[in-house]
């Protein structure tokens, strides 16, 4: 899996935030649009696209999209 696809999938869970805002370094929980429903959508998207179950705590423990990407990559390899 590559980071750019992951960023695109991540950005797709948002409706009002400009796509250009999303990079590997985006501090996603600071975005105005971020909500508990977005968090659920990210968890569901990761299950859907990568067949990986992440937890709410994985989101809490990630600052940037890169951080979350690395958690998912680790779980894919297991």
């Amino acid at each position: 899996m590559n980071i750019q696809d992951f960023i695109d999938n991540f950005a797709n869970q948002f409706d009002d935030t400009d796509k250009a805002v999303f990079t590997s370094e985006t501090n996603f929980k600071q975005l105005d649009e971020w909500s508990s429903l977005t968090a659920l959508s990210i968890i569901a998207m990761v299950d859907d696209e990568y067949n990986v179950i992440i937890k709410g705590s994985d989101i809490i423990n990630s600052e940037t999209i890169q951080d979350l990407f690395e958690i998912v990559v680790k779980k894919v390899r297991k």
């Binding site: 659920l40 959508s41 569901a44 937890k55 809490i60």
Partner: protein, 248 residues
Amino acid sequence: MNNNPFSLVGKTILVTGASSGIGQATAVACAAMGARVIITGRNPERLQQTRDRIEAQCEAIIPAELTQKEDVENLVKSLPPLDGAVMCAGNSTTLPLQFGTREKFDEMFDVNFFAPVELMRLMYKKKVLQKNASVVLIASIGGTHSFMPGNGVYGASKAALNSFMKYAAREFASRKVRVNSICPGMVDTPLIHRGTITEEQLAEDAKRYPLGRYGQPEDIANGAVYLLSDASSWLTGHDLVIDGGFSI
């Protein structure tokens, strides 16, 4: 105890999902109120733990996977005549609707709707449910009273179950079999601690309940005891909300 309308002495009660959570608490509460209890669930070891808590009041342990046709049929065949049944076996998921594929709905409906419906159908048809028996379905405020984001797939399955409860109450009344449901709010069971929602989020959410906490399995079990007992003889087709005031 003789004059206590809430007593379950002399009654034989089936409890599904009795290996943990609300099912286990219900089996324990029914036994404490004097019922002879038959417990079923998927995991024989965990059912044994429930049995250890109700000891001599346990009439039988019948492990079964209620989504499997054969298991349900075998269960019904081995049941004695019943005065009551509590359908606690269930599952939950937290999933935004746009990810609610047919497969996700099927998984939820198989466990939460089709399994208890088929078990009830067979128990009624085979007359395992005696005259004046009482059936209690564990539904949820999700889907009937509360529509929180992420709960749609789960809530729809519980709403369907609640609807079935009302039809069954109407039809089964001809045999004086009562059918009611309990709609709990969030109850502190293993189901809610699977990590999709963090412990911090759960603690925060619990504060939104007017009575200041999530339910304990016993809060629901005690409601089931009432619905099984003669105290509720004239109550059928009712969804009893036990939710710490959340849906007010």
